[in-house]
Amino acid sequence: MRGHGDGSSRMTASDRADVRSSTAVSSRQQQFEALVRAHSGELYRYAYWLSSDGALAQDLVQETFLRAWRSLDGLRETVAAKAWLTTILRREHARLYERKPMPTTDLADLDLTDTGPSPERQGEDAVMRAAIAKLDPKYREPLVLQVLGGFSCEEIARELGITEAAVMTQVFRARQKLKAMLDGEEREAEIHGLP
């Protein structure tokens, strides 16, 4: 239901109608829409953890899909779409990184809001997110690809251009570091009498 406000940042019913009418135009468009619906959320999360910036992550996702649209004919198998889109997004992020310095991760700036789980769970997630944000990118990225993207170490190795053994070492160390940080947080909480 649309209102009479500006609504420029959200898609309105009429915009969706435009999308619907245009998707009827070609199967290529339908294929693209299916890709966007299936992968935009996952790509956004990946982009977020890559850039530590919500707005930048949205831009990255949009630019990734625009590039994907331009070369959609190069996508032979739908099952390979996730890896293909991930590669485009990484390249896009690298281009951005070349153009301007990326923001450093400041835990105070991280958006830790989550509307789903209970307050306790939200607190746990916030602690874990802060810990993940502290990880060196070389540990964080393969971990995100593995946990969020569901990629195997072999697939991650291909994506990152390193050996499978190196990926296994990095994700192993990532988990070790997270555990160490979380243990530290919990000890800190115990010292201060926090639950």
């Binding site: 898609m11 915009d15 109608a17 009418s21 789980p117 296994m168």
Partner: protein
């Protein structure tokens, strides 16, 4: 596989799909405990990584893509036109003139019809007039100054129609709804009447944009067109017959 190998693998690939590792897991209670702890940690990591996705992200991506696709088509047309112009120059040399209508203009009626069909349910049925200030503000936000605001606008909203910024209104005429959409930044080459299914329509270039009217009949089009000519270019120019 021994416990040390299993623990290394568990830290790298907690899902543990390797058959040898699965076999070890089934036979080793200590590694089963480690496996349970690893799964708990994985669930915690996965939950933390799954940050909220901004609402409407997919829709925004699709809208950006549609806009780009449309711009590319228009650009393609421009390049095509240049080639055509070059060819036309040769044709002119032997006394012929080649003319091609605008590709954007051909698409506009279809875009508008699709938009009207997808607009908010009930928008076309509204009869109570909205305040003139709302109409004036919608145009101002689109960068268009109105000399006056026609009466009888029962719905107004700033809509993107395809890639075009527009002001979408409804103006009932003789108790039948007429969708009136002013497309900014695109001026149609001339007045065109069209029909699409149960809809009749007319597009009219006015000022720097195009007014498109769509309704079940063309009954009110002349009056509405005249009122919006006055509003968009001033009554003096309308009287003087400005195109």
């Amino acid at each position: 596989m021994d416990c040390l190998e299993f623990r290394r693998l568990l830290g790298s690939e907690p899902r543990v799909t390797d058959p040898a590792a699965r076999a070890h897991l089934e036979s080793c209670p200590r590694c089963q405990d480690a496996y349970a702890r690893a799964q708990a940690l994985e669930a915690r990591i996965a939950g933390a990584l799954a940050i909220a996705v901004p609402e409407g992200l997919a829709d925004r991506v699709l809208l950006a893509q549609l806009t780009e696709a449309r711009q590319r088509r228009a650009k393609g047309f421009r390049y095509g036109w240049i080639a055509l112009a070059a060819a036309a120059a040769l044709v002119v040399a032997v006394g012929l003139v080649v003319r091609r209508p605008g590709a954007i203009g051909q698409a506009l009626p279809d875009l508008v019809i699709a938009h009207v069909n997808g607009e908010e349910r009930g928008a076309m049925d509204r009869r109570a007039p909205v305040p003139s200030a709302d109409v004036d503000r919608a145009f101002a936000d689109r960068g268009v100054h109105l000399a006056s605001v026609p009466e009888g606008v029962s719905y107004v909203h700033k809509c993107p129609v395809g890639g075009y910024p527009t002001v979408h209104m409804v103006m009932p005429y003789d108790d039948k709804p007429v969708a009136v959409i002013y497309v900014t930044r695109y001026r149609a080459p001339g007045v065109t009447n069209f029909e699409r299914g149960a809809w009749e329509g007319r597009e009219v270039p006015i000022a720097d944009g195009t007014l498109v009217m769509v309704g079940p009949s063309a009954g009110g089009f002349d009056r509405i067109e005249h009122e919006w000519r006055d509003a968009l270019q001033g009554s003096a120019q309308t009287a003087a017959g400005s195109p």
